[in-house]
């Protein structure tokens, strides 16, 4: 059952770890401190990699399985960093009717990742969104601030190729 996913290598700095330990120290002895600590850890690192979860587990004396349970339950917590290029595919009504789910599937296939994840090289992250107000161009996706409209599954690879 092991996940065979490749993760972006952890690149946390000493400064980030110090910040995290301070956050944990500030919450010491408080009941229900795990959620706020995780939230602030995500602010520090941008996401919650396994290494960060382990530090929190050791420091707060909470089993890592429990932390995994919380992190994987709430959609707010992310296990993946955001990529250099953040792809958002609109699955709003208009785009969906125009077949944006096919674009979305194609992106997952080409990038080899699922929704919410990031390619191991840290380049692309993928997520779905609901309507970006460009229904006239449906189906659309955004890569960082660029809007790409009137998409077909076939043009996905050409578009990605433009981003280095």
């Amino acid at each position: 059952m092991s996940s065979e996913k490749k993760f972006v290598p952890f690149q946390g700095t000493k400064e980030q770890e110090e910040q995290l330990r301070k956050v944990i120290a500030d919450h010491k002895g408080q009941r229900g401190a795990l959620m706020p600590v995780l939230q602030q850890a995500q602010e520090i690192y941008g996401y919650l990699p396994a290494e960060v979860q382990q530090i929190i587990s050791d420091e707060m004396k909470i089993p890592v399985s429990k932390i995994c349970g919380v992190v994987t339950f709430y959609s707010f917590y992310s296990l993946y960093p955001k990529g250099k290029y953040r792809i958002s595919v609109c699955l709003g009504t208009a785009c969906y009717v125009k077949g944006s789910n096919k674009i979305y599937d194609k992106l997952q296939e080409v990038l080899g990742i699922n929704s919410g994840e990031c390619t191991p090289d840290g380049k692309f992250s993928l997520e779905a969104c609901r309507c970006i107000g460009a229904c006239g161009l449906a189906p659309v996706m955004m890569i960082n601030d660029d809007v790409h409209g009137r998409l077909t599954p076939d043009c996905v690879e050409d578009i990605l190729a433009k981003y280095e």
Partner: protein, 903 residues
């Protein structure tokens, strides 16, 4: 009290009782798949839904989460309720792979049972299923199959709340929810200890023991309730027998295990019974070839009896000795010591408590009058505010006690750990005093110094119930926290804090183990534990006491039964007036009045030829005793050496005759657990071969040696024990099997047939009368590090094996988890020596040298190392020092000096 009606029956219950609990109190069955006793209601399965009408308003509510309200009218089986339950089951089946024919849980599945009861055979909600998630079979003993999981969370709650390990949790959300250790790795990569309590809690086949593939519940021939043969917790379980073979175990809700088992009890307690390498017939060593040859029982028994009698005639009774097995039943042990005393004519009898807790037996006898755990496990883990854990690692050595201590911590109990290693509990402790090995007396004196300095001693208790206070007060004056900090390598303020916390806690037990006893000053270490408790009056009442966790399943019993050179059964002293005469009268022959030789002194005496004949029942001193080469030399020096064994152990190879006995699963009897609880051992199977009941072997030998001993059953032997042992006078198999005792055992002292047993000792009065403060001074260990051997070596046990591995080593999965020798060392030492984690190293002491694998880290302090003694590929006992304690003759396993080099 709250009043309500359930199915029309008037019910009266305490406030905050849930409807489910109320119904159960009145024998009304409400179905549930997720409810776990003693854990907060989960409310996840929704099957316990009931119809509740109050003030004209009707609601459908889960009975497990809803407290009873005055005037509730509860319907547990109304038409609507049944309809709701059917829908719930129907929905469960929508994501449950229904393959009952081939499912391991078939016939033992709550979901199947309820579907049958409510007439649900298939789901009407066809759709996507979690069928494609691969089964996680990474754990050695069990598998997790998401497609059968109903997400009731019983496993998670068991692991987190009852076992207290927290190895698994619910991962992901919605349809993708599953149970696991981590989203990145499999079950076995986490902190799971494979205790399998989660599997027993699973209502379906989602969590399933791998061995369940080999039998169906309806093929089970019988389930035999018995006592676990590993540590002294005394866990109760069923042995599951199919076709005359034990195929599985199932935990029983016993008084000391509360329905829990550990990895060894659940998985490592029956493979060895059916192991093909059991010795199946008597063996006599051919003197010329040195090979063992098959013999008949008559040949073997005649030889043994005649040889011992020959030696006795030529060199006197004291040239013989016989050791009893601390893992065998009380009845067997009683007969061994009776044989030694009546036939050999000596008190040279002992058991392996000599090398583990003899210091507790001697020490607590001297200070309190009784050398045993003062309070029950349930009491010290449920009623305590603080636990002082000294030299004890119950999470590994007494795992089910460890689980109950974890529960105590969850309830808010404080914990002080005094241990040289970062054991699991050290991380959870409020204070961890990482003592230098061998400094327990200094530590205890330091604690007492602070308590007296702060005026926290219990003057009334001291005045009324103790003696010797002035002297100890004088002694501990010298032990300032600063001085103790220097001796013990700890922080003076931590010591102060610990002393004050312990003294101020209303109910605080001291729990200790071999870290206290296995020193050349072990008995003084033990008496220092009782000194601390006496100073603050924490004895003779609930949630307190001085509690040695005994080692083997029946090491308490082996001492109780008089397999000691100083004591007849029930600690009746050889040296005390009238005792020998009493037993001469009972047994009808003259007995020796001389105190016998301790087991640890028998070996040196064998070398000097003062001991010439030795009978060992079920011990393996070549593996377990310190300084292996010296033990081998001793065994080789003997004129005649007989061993009664299950397997060809390292020690058996030196024997002249091997007599094959039977295991705990093949006989009746009793074990006494660490809390003095006498519990039944029951026969589950007969293994093919010429092996004989151990008591029959002994009795046959006794008769051949001229003592007319009639053949007795185990129950009859216990009656004889009761007749000569006042503290066992009220104990019999009949009573232990009766409804009155009902699987709870009896805790000695139990002086009469109507006595309920004694859970807490020394209430109101000590066995000794007044308890005694022993004037203990710190003395350094016998062998301290120097330039040649600069590192201290401690030895101990790990979770997955029990001492010699004669039993656990025959469960292949346990050997796969941990099967090789290793040594834990500190990273600073390792760096200096150029040793990396996982390197092969050579470890040497003045006595020997072995190879092992380094585990480098900070678990031990710089200058210290630790090794288990389970593994023959590098057994620590080639290195350990046989320096003996002056009172108990216990060896100093916990401190010797070694040198570690890269191999």
């Amino acid at each position: 009290m709250v009043h309500l009606k359930i199915d029309g029956i008037p019910v009266e219950v305490e406030e905050n009782t849930t409807i489910l609990q109320a119904a159960r109190q009145y024998g009304i069955e409400i179905p549930t798949l997720c409810h776990l006793e003693d854990v907060l209601p989960n409310g996840s399965c929704r099957l316990c839904v009931v119809e509740v009408t109050n003030n004209g308003r009707t609601r459908f509510i889960t009975a497990c989460t809803m407290p009873c309200t005055e005037g509730d009218e509860v319907q547990t089986k109304s038409e609507q309720v049944i309809k709701h339950r059917k829908t719930t089951l129907d929905l469960m089946l929508s994501d449950h792979r229904v393959h009952c024919f081939s499912c391991e849980a078939n016939g033992d599945c709550k979901l199947q049972e309820y579907c049958f009861e409510y007439g649900v055979d298939a789901t009407s909600y066809e759709g996507k299923r979690n069928d494609d998630i691969p089964i996680d079979d990474s754990n050695k003993f069990f598998t997790y199959d998401r497609s059968l999981c109903i997400l009731c969370h019983r496993c998670v709650n068991t692991c987190q709340e009852i076992v207290g390990r927290g190895a698994i949790d619910t991962l992901n959300r919605g349809f993708n929810t599953k149970i696991g250790a981590h989203y990145l790795y499999d079950w076995d990569q986490g902190i799971c200890e494979s205790c399998g309590n989660c599997v027993q809690a699973c209502p379906t086949g989602a969590l399933s023991m791998k061995r369940r593939k080999k039998y169906r519940p309806y093929q089970v021939e019988k389930k035999v309730l018995t006592t676990c043969p590993h540590c002294a917790t005394g866990c109760q379980y069923y042995l599951i027998v199919k076709d005359g073979k034990i195929v599985d175990t199932e935990a029983y809700d016993g008084p000391s295990n509360k329905g829990l088992l550990c990895v060894k009890g659940r998985n490592g307690s029956f493979d060895f019974v059916h192991s093909p390498d059991r010795i199946k017939y008597p063996l006599i060593k051919n003197k010329e070839t040195g090979e063992f040859e098959r013999a008949s029982w008559d040949e073997a028994l005649d030889l043994v009896a005649s040889k011992f009698m020959e030696i006795k005639k030529q060199y006197g009774p004291d040239s013989l000795a016989g050791f009893a097995c601390s893992r065998s039943p009380n009845e067997d042990i009683y007969m061994v010591q009776k044989m030694v005393r009546t036939c050999f004519g000596t008190n040279n009898t002992d058991n392996c408590a000599r090398v583990c807790h003899s210091a507790s037996v001697a020490g607590l006898y001297m200070t309190l009058g009784s050398g045993a755990m003062t309070n029950p496990i349930e009491d010290i883990t449920r009623n305590s505010e603080l636990i002082m854990l000294v030299g004890s690692n119950p999470e590994e050595a007494h795992p089910v006690v460890g689980m109950q201590i974890r529960q105590a911590l969850k309830r808010g109990c404080k914990l002080i750990v005094a241990d040289p290693r970062d054991i699991g509990f050290a991380k959870q402790a409020d204070i961890h005093l990482k003592l230098k090995p061998g400094t327990n007396v200094a530590f205890a004196n330091g604690i007492m110094h602070v308590i007296i300095e702060e005026g926290l001693q219990d003057e009334k208790f001291i005045a009324e119930r103790t003696e010797g206070y002035e002297k100890i007060k004088e002694i501990v004056k010298e032990y300032t926290p600063e001085k103790v900090a220097e001796i013990c390598h700890i922080d003076a303020d931590d010591l102060r804090k610990a002393a004050i916390m312990y003294a101020k806690a209303e109910r605080a037990p001291i729990i200790y183990c071999l870290g206290v006893t296995e020193h050349s000053t072990g008995t003084e270490g033990v008496m220092s534990m009782s000194n601390m408790a006496l100073l603050v009056g924490k004895l003779g009442r609930p949630g307190c006491g001085v509690n040695p966790l005994r080692g083997q399943n029946n090491v308490q019993g082996a001492c109780d039964m008089g397999a000691q050179p100083t004591d007849f059964p029930g600690y009746q002293k050889v040296a005390a007036p009238g005792v020998v005469e009493k037993f001469e009268k009972a047994w009808g022959v003259p007995l020796s009045h001389e105190v016998g030789t301790h087991a640890t002194d028998v070996f040196p005496k064998a070398i000097t030829k003062e001991i010439r004949g030795l009978y060992i029942y079920g011990e393996d001193p070549v593996v377990t005793d310190p300084d292996t080469s010296h033990i081998i030399k001793a065994l080789e020096s003997l004129d005649f050496f007989v061993i009664q064994e299950l397997f060809m152990t390292e020690t058996a190879q030196y024997a002249d005759v091997i007599l094959p006995g039977v295991s705990y699963a093949e006989k009746e009897g009793t074990f006494s657990n660490t809390e003095r609880r006498v519990q039944r051992v029951r026969k589950a199977v007969t293994v093919e071969g010429e092996m004989r009941l151990d008591t029959d072997i002994i009795i046959d030998l006794m008769n051949r040696m001229g003592y007319p001993q009639p053949h007795l059953t185990s129950a009859q032997i216990m009656d004889e024990i009761a007749s000569v042992t006042p503290s066992f006078a009220g104990i019999s198999h009949e009573r232990l099997d009766s409804e009155e005792v009902a699987g709870k055992g009896l805790q000695w002292p139990c002086p009469s047939k109507d006595h309920p047993g004694t859970p807490i000792m020394h209430v109101g009065k000590f066995t000794r009368g007044l308890a005694w403060f022993y004037p203990a001074e710190y003395v350094p260990s016998a062998e301290v590090p120097d330039d040649d051997y600069p590192i201290i070596l401690m030895t101990g046990r790990i979770l997955y094996h029990y001492t010699t591995r004669a039993m656990t080593g025959r469960t292949p999965e346990l050997m796969e988890i941990e099967g090789k020798s290793f040594i834990e060392m500190n990273i600073e030492d390792a760096n200096k020596l150029g040793i990396a984690n996982g390197d092969r190293v050579k470890v040497s002491s003045r006595r020997g040298s072995i190879e092992s694998t380094a585990r480098v880290g900070t678990k031990t302090s710089p200058g210290e190392s630790w090794m288990p003694f389970h593994f023959p590929d590098g057994n620590a006992n080639w290195l350990t020092n046989a320096a003996l304690d002056k009172y108990a003759r216990i060896p100093e396993y916990k401190v010797c000096a070694v040198k570690i080099e890269k191999a």
